[in-house]
Amino acid sequence: MPPPFHVFLDVDGGGWHPAAWRRSRVSPDAVFSPARLKEFAVTAQAQGLTGLTFEDSTLPDPRNPHGHLDAVQRAAFLAGTTDTIGLLPVAATTYSEPFHVAAQIASLDHSSAGRAGWIATTSTPAVARTVNLPVLDDPQAELTDVVGAVRRLWDSWEDDAVVRDVATGRYVDRDRLHHVDVVATNFSVKGPLTVPRPPQGQPVVAAHERDLLDPGVVDVVLTGSERTRRSAGGPLVVLEVEFALDTAAASGAQRVEALDADAPAPARGRLRWTGSGEGFARYLSGLAGSVDGVRLHAAVLDEDLRTLLRTTFPALRVARLLRPPAAGATLRTTLGRPRPVNQFATA
């Protein structure tokens, strides 16, 4: 049996390429279609993927007239109609409220019965302008602070805080609810969270390598480099790959070239791969053993997903690299991460 290998698929708009919406089989506005989102989720789950990720930005790309629905909202929308696949929205740590982020991801974990993850990101200074906060000179330090605060908020209810003790009339044991009393450089939070502890205890936290001062604060490091390796006892390493596959009409490289002519794609710190669907399966198989998984970004979701389904995924299944999460498993369980002990546990 090969080592566990995790395939995540990003479902954002038309695809990673800013011109993707022009190639979609649907009208520009239909990239926001909730029915289409459900269709992707059902397909990805049936293929045995570990998780869906939801890229996001609160700023529009001026060259690319399609936006994004809020990533947490999209993930939550799919929580009730899926049952094994992980749901990992992007939510920024900079210029956002740690309390709201903690409550949102905790709620997603409750409604998905333990399948929530959080891709913690930093935003560009332009985002500061949308909320009238000072531009941070050290967004990575802010990420560390916010992830730390969110983790304390998730622990602010112990697992057995709700006692429903009819004899004494107590609904909760208040000794098992905790003020978090976080005082960070740019914010403070009193706590406790208004949402009880998530089913996973701590939903899975991921962040990109470039945003991390200390990889130890996350469960999954996202990287654009094939050379990044997991350290003993450290977070899982997941490679970010944006890809464009050959179709009957054009090679993957030609397709990217044509898309670039419409709107050049910015560099995003991900690996770029073009070629045939079979070649892609061989490439991904080669990565198993050196990284724990991949996060796939399709150039044009409608076109590239078709090839993935027809050639790449079947080959990965034969190689035992696409193993569906067990029924009822939490995302943590699927990723082999133990349920963490509550930092406030009194028992």
Partner: protein, 416 residues
Amino acid sequence: MTDLRYPNAVVHFGVFFQGVNHSTIWSDPRSGSQMNHSTFTQLIRTAERGLLDAFFLGEGLRLREQRGRIHDLDVVGRPDALTELATLAGLTDRIGLVATQNTTYNDPADLARRLASLDVLSGGRAAWNVVTTDNAWTGANFRRGGYLDHADRYERAERFVNLARRVWDSWDGSEFAPVDSDDGFFDVEIAPTVPRSPQGHPVIFQAGDSPTGRDFAARSADVIFSAHGSDRHDALAFADDVRRRVVAAGRPEDDVLTFPGTQIVVADTEGEVEEKARWVLEQQVTPAPAHDPVIADIDGTRGAARQGHDPRAIAQEWRRVAEENKFSLRELVLHTSARRGFAGTASQLADELTLWVRSGASSGFNVTPFLVPSGLDDIVDQLVPALQERDAYPTAYVGTTLREHLGLRPPLTRRR
């Protein structure tokens, strides 16, 4: 009954899933989890089966405390409203989804976008119940801390809603016109990233009872969620006051609906009404604790009391009543907790609620189930058919959006 103001009006129902605080009974064996997703799914499916207009979630951004310790006698803990409603959007087709969201501890850039996202994901079923919160200590959970006095909160709320509307309106699918604001409250630049839904904008609810709050609603809201849901004369006075303010704001008098929060106890027979209503009240005034504190030990000067009354005077009056009747503390609370909402057989209730909406006392009711997840069953299985027999309730959803269910005009900024 020829002098009814709206002789053909129908009853509108929302379900107010409070989830927390004393109105939700937790000690009964039939009471389910406030957090389990199956609770939400069962309730909202029942609501949709009963053709209810909306499923409504409240919000509280800090747990209630007493002297620095979490209040432990009532149900506590609930999901984030918008996140939960997005999940419910994926499981339902027609029912409206109302998120209570605070304007004091949110940013327009983020909240306007999340609301618009829910509106698109639900196919035009989202609404925002705009609240300001009435305390400063909630601020300890947020970057900007506790701030803003009562009047400033409403000023911020109104500017917040107007800014959100401008952001929603500025999406045109091909070009981005960022919305600029520099009004002392919001010095920001926000570009839309979310298209409009089939209902144009999320429906705007407002909850806040002061004159300032009512005027804000008269200028900006589609619906007022009020606490005037027990006494018809009180509700009518409130609705008349709202109509006056709405007309003064230059809008048609029926442009803002009133939706009082209430509770409805449906009994099988007339003989059971009082008994069932009493049982509900007893369960809500916290289950009997092992120790019942002695009245003489209670210090009436602590904690918040009703706005505008001297807490000492209230405490003295209660003390007098307790001594006269030899009440324990719990008996006193039961005595002073006037029954909220309605109790009756389905047929009595159908007559009463029909009278409310046809006399103009309210447009509908935002019903809090006192038991979850089964607390809507009586309403949907008994009261709704009784209303339908009286032609006072729809027999099908008329449209697909919440705006259509409520019979609202287009969003304020999108009228010709």
